[in-house]
């Protein structure tokens, strides 16, 4: 039988087929059915102190009788260090220090201020490997991402904003009528004609991009002559504290940036402090609403605090049938599984045009099976540990709820039964630590909870659409409006759809691209105000 020659030797060996097939099945090369990667741990040595104080007025100090709490490595649950639970009195000291430092800092020649920020940026690069390792240890994100994305972007934000410090006159042109402006508005010196710093900025940041969010907040504030009281997230304080060490090394004047650690109580003390001029918050919509309410009451001196909020999202990712499908699949992967899906702008609602739905789901399944979930310190890990136990149980709640509501959970790489009681989401992963295998739901309806609420985990909801109009209306049918993705090879369609999507960012034929020169921020319940770019400077000046 000629068919023994397989795919294409069809006719060649009609004679002697049997012996031939025997011979060939013994080819040595066929004995290598798997080529696995050996462990590739990041082995850089870092020093994490057993405990950290608060960074106030240029010094690390531990307040008397301070309460402390542990910060842990979410992939092992081992304690990394202990930090201080800053009390309202500690926050007050930080605000006082920031207020005291303000006139001098704002009064420096702009190019001098820029020098400090450039110096900080360079030092971040120099200590980049150390920062990446500590970020991964404290947050659970893969070292690949902290090394190649987080830390380079942190440095880039400082470099970018340092460049603006002495060019603010070009950004805010026409702020005066030509008459000499009075210096009395805020009592602070002018950065450029008619442009002054806001003052003391209270900044509260989340745990998903700990140091990057600190950079987004601190860099533009400093460039615009403000001083800062920053609170890193409760579960990820370490890199912000290393950043404080860098401020010391760079001889940033005391009080210009103060870093206080703690939980929501500390955050609340910052938000409610009567001498803070501006609040910048990145985090959940729930907390954002509380902050907005608090800031709605004027301070004792009758002034209102300024506020910018960068909150949650349930961003639509739209794949048209004329998209470059294999690259769109890469975009989907980066959109939802980057940083374990713990990304405010994650493309968590996938809308696939009906005609290619099966193809995309099949390719997504194949691609997901090649993602490597595990030890965040391994250089080949794609998906690391979930940041906290609390967050993991939130994700697992949605994995169950999605199935109860009728969607089908797909967990590539898990061969067992999937049910609301056994999602397979920890299959093959260590018993210590907080883990969730990347997965997705098919058969999701727009009314399902998993299509409406932010899961903040490696869980994608796949929906479909038939016409472009339906894609737009489904994409916009959400209380959020942070980001969106569109995939089509047809330029006119891309532009027309992008204009109709109500979100702060629309990525076309790509996803999760960040650059300090590009503004970022939300519509609707995803918040207001922009960070990054020229637009990001606006929140930090009085014009």
């Amino acid at each position: 039988m000629a068919s023994s020659e397989g795919t294409n030797g069809h006719a060649a060996a009609t004679a002697n087929a049997k012996s031939d097939s025997n011979r060939i099945s013994k080819l040595p090369a066929s004995q290598t059915p798997g080529w696995e990667y050996s462990p590739a741990p990041e082995t850089g040595k870092v020093t994490i102190k057993p405990s950290y104080g608060l960074f106030i007025d240029g010094k690390f100090a531990e307040p008397k009788g301070a309460k402390r709490f542990a910060t842990i490595n979410p992939s092992t649950e081992a304690t990394l260090s202990e930090v201080v639970q800053a009390s309202p009195a500690d926050v007050n000291r930080a605000v006082v220090a920031a207020r005291a430092a303000l006139p001098k800092w704002a009064g420096l020649p702009a190019s001098e201020r820029a020098k400090f920020i450039f110096r900080i940026a360079r030092r971040i690069q120099e200590r980049g490997r150390e920062l990446a390792i500590i970020e991964t240890l404290d947050s659970g994100k893969p070292i690949k991402e902290s090394r190649d994305v987080d830390i380079p972007l942190v440095a880039a934000h400082f470099f970018y904003n340092a460049g603006w410090a002495d060019k603010l006159g070009f950004v805010f042109q026409g702020a005066t009528s030509g008459a000499k402006s009075s210096g009395k508005k805020s009592g602070l010196p002018e950065l450029a004609p008619g442009v002054r710093p806001v003052g003391v900025c209270g900044q509260v940041i989340p745990w998903n991009f700990p140091l990057l969010m600190a950079a987004w907040k601190i860099a533009p504030a400093l460039a615009c002559g403000n001083t800062v009281v920053l609170k890193p997230a409760e579960t990820t304080p370490l890199t912000a504290l290393v950043l404080a060490e860098i401020f010391e090394e760079c001889e940033l004047p005391p009080g210009v940036v103060n870093i206080v650690t703690g939980d929501g109580v500390t955050g609340r003390a910052i938000v409610e402090h009567p001498d803070v001029d501006k609040i910048a918050f990145t985090g959940s919509t729930e907390v954002g609403k509380i902050i907005a309410k608090s800031v709605a009451s004027p301070r004792p001196d009758g002034k209102f605090k300024r506020l910018t909020l960068e909150l949650g999202g349930k961003s639509p990712h739209i794949i048209f049938e004329d998209a470059a499908i294999d690259q769109a699949v890469e975009g989907i992967i980066s959109g939802i599984y980057f940083n374990q899906g713990e990304v405010c702008c994650a493309g968590s609602r996938l809308f696939v045009q009906e005609s290619i739905l099966d193809t995309v789901v099949k390719k997504l399944e194949i691609r997901l099976a090649s993602l490597r979930t595990g030890d965040p310190m391994d250089k080949n890990t794609d998906v690391g540990a979930v940041n906290s136990k609390e967050q993991l149980s939130r994700i697992e709640h949605y994995l169950k709820l999605g199935q109860t509501e009728g969607a089908e959970l797909r967990m590539p790489g898990y061969s067992g039964e999937v049910s609301p009681d056994n999602t397979g989401s920890r299959h093959g992963l260590p018993s210590k630590g907080f883990w969730c295998r990347p997965c997705f739901f098919t058969g999701v309806q727009p009314s399902h909870t998993i299509a409406r609420e932010e899961i903040f985990g490696p869980v994608l909801s796949v929906l479909s659409f038939r016409t472009p109009e339906e894609a737009v209306s489904r994409a916009n049918n959400t209380p959020y409006g942070l980001a969106a993705g569109i995939w089509t090879e047809k330029g006119s369609k891309m532009l027309s759809i992008a204009k109709q999507i109500k979100s702060g960012v629309v990525w076309c034929n790509t996803y999760n691209k960040f650059d300090p020169a590009s503004p970022f921020g939300g519509f609707k319940e995803s918040g207001f105000g922009r960070e990054g770019g020229v637009q990001g400077l606006k929140a930090y000046v009085e014009v």
Binding site: A12, N16, W35
Partner: protein, 382 residues
């Protein structure tokens, strides 16, 4: 077969489009994998076994080809700091005139059939010859002992949009390989009938866009496989034709897979990036797109087609990057191991066309083995 979709008098590509920016980004991501210790050694040995050790110069001599064959059979000969059990390379790749010298040389070393003889043919490297001359070129190479034919496509016709012409020529060469293979002697002397593998060189450096690369890949794969089916309509291709191969693969009861036939494949068809005579030659984005074409063909039909990047792959590190790309693009496909154990991470379905690569791999292996780096003059020339 319709190679493109006719519209307004011109053929159009029915292939999926490729986004060049994201394809390049994905390709770059493979280079960031950290391949250490055991997996590095295993990867280097694997890469060595997948090598088409190549010489394609006007000044090639019988003597040079003999040296090439000796190197191919025993790449580490003369070196004492290498581990035992290094594989031979997969094939030597030469011009048609030198095939018979390869045959004699490999036969004298008892390696005929183990190390394949690949010959470029069909008017390599330009393909700018009449079809009958190109087919005759193919016939002679097989007659002289070639196991594998590396053909070039007619880029002029492709770029002019005459896709059916390109496909017809590929089909004609494939038919010639099959027909001449039946007549050719087996290397082990057991009679007539030598499987001839066809590699279609797309010369991607001249196709320029990844859209073209994808379409040329689809066109070449389809033409080769359909030519085989047309010649042997009742054999393997037929039961699967028109059905969803991937679906059948998931159920092992499928007729197609139950035939022991498909488990013992003598030689696979390949698509190949480049002649090595045009810059750029093989790049990772181009090869990624070709891998995607091969994957989609498998998902659609259940058939395996090989891929050969050629030209520009000079370092051991690069070869590992390519292997990572193969593993992560084609490594997770259901059913492949049942058809061909190891899938694309075997010399039967993956080749590197290179000349300098072998020695860099050997130097890396000797470093892993002995902790010493070898100078260039410590490793033997081919």
């Amino acid at each position: 077969m319709q190679s493109g979709i006719k519209a307004a008098g011109r053929d159009f590509s029915p292939s999926p489009k490729v986004d060049a920016v994201m394809a390049a980004e994905r390709a770059a991501s493979f280079t960031k994998r950290s391949i250490k210790s055991k997996s590095k050694l295993a990867g280097l040995k694997l890469a060595l076994s997948m090598l088409d050790l190549t010489t394609l110069e006007g000044k090639d001599s019988p003597e040079k080809v003999r040296a090439l064959c000796a190197k191919a059979v025993n790449p580490g000969a003369g070196q004492t700091d290498l581990p035992d059990g290094l594989p031979s390379v997969a094939a030597v790749c030469v011009y048609p005139n030198l095939v018979k010298h390869c045959r004699d040389s490999l036969e004298s070393m008892g390696a005929l059939g183990r190390v394949k003889i690949a010959s470029v043919a069909t008017g390599f490297p330009s393909g700018q010859y009449p079809l009958d001359v190109r087919l005759d070129d193919t016939r002679r190479a097989i007659h002289d002992g070639a196991d594998e034919i590396d053909m070039v496509i007619n880029r002029g016709a492709f770029l002019a949009g005459r896709y059916d012409e390109v496909a017809d020529e590929i089909r004609a060469v494939k038919r010639t390989c099959l027909q001449e293979g039946v007549k050719a002697d087996r290397h082990d002397g057991s009679g007539k009938g030598r499987p001839i593998s066809l590699k279609v060189i797309l010369e991607t450096g001249e196709l320029e866009t990844l859209d073209n690369v994808r379409f040329a890949s689809d066109l070449a794969i389809r033409a080769m496989q359909e030519a085989a089916r047309d010649l042997e309509p009742d054999t393997i291709y037929a039961p699967l034709h028109g059905s969803n191969g991937a679906a059948e693969l998931n159920g092992s009861s499928s007729r197609h897979l139950d035939t022991s036939a498909s488990r013992h494949v003598a030689s696979f068809d390949f698509i190949k990036t480049s002649t090595g005579k045009v810059t750029p030659a093989a790049t990772m984005p181009v090869t990624l797109v070709m891998l995607e074409a091969v994957r989609d063909w498998y998902l659609e039909t259940g058939f395996l087609v090989g891929v050969k990047p050629a030209g520009g792959i000079r370092t051991a590190k690069q070869s590992l990057h390519y292997l990572v790309m193969v593993k992560e693009t084609l490594g997770a496909l259901a059913g492949v191991n049942e058809l061909h154990p190891g899938g694309w991470l075997t010399p039967e379905l993956w080749r590197f066309g290179a000349s300098a690569l072998a020695n860099d791999i050997l130097r890396q292996i000797s470093w892993l083995h002995s902790g010493k780096y070898r100078a260039n003059y410590d490793v033997t020339e081919a």
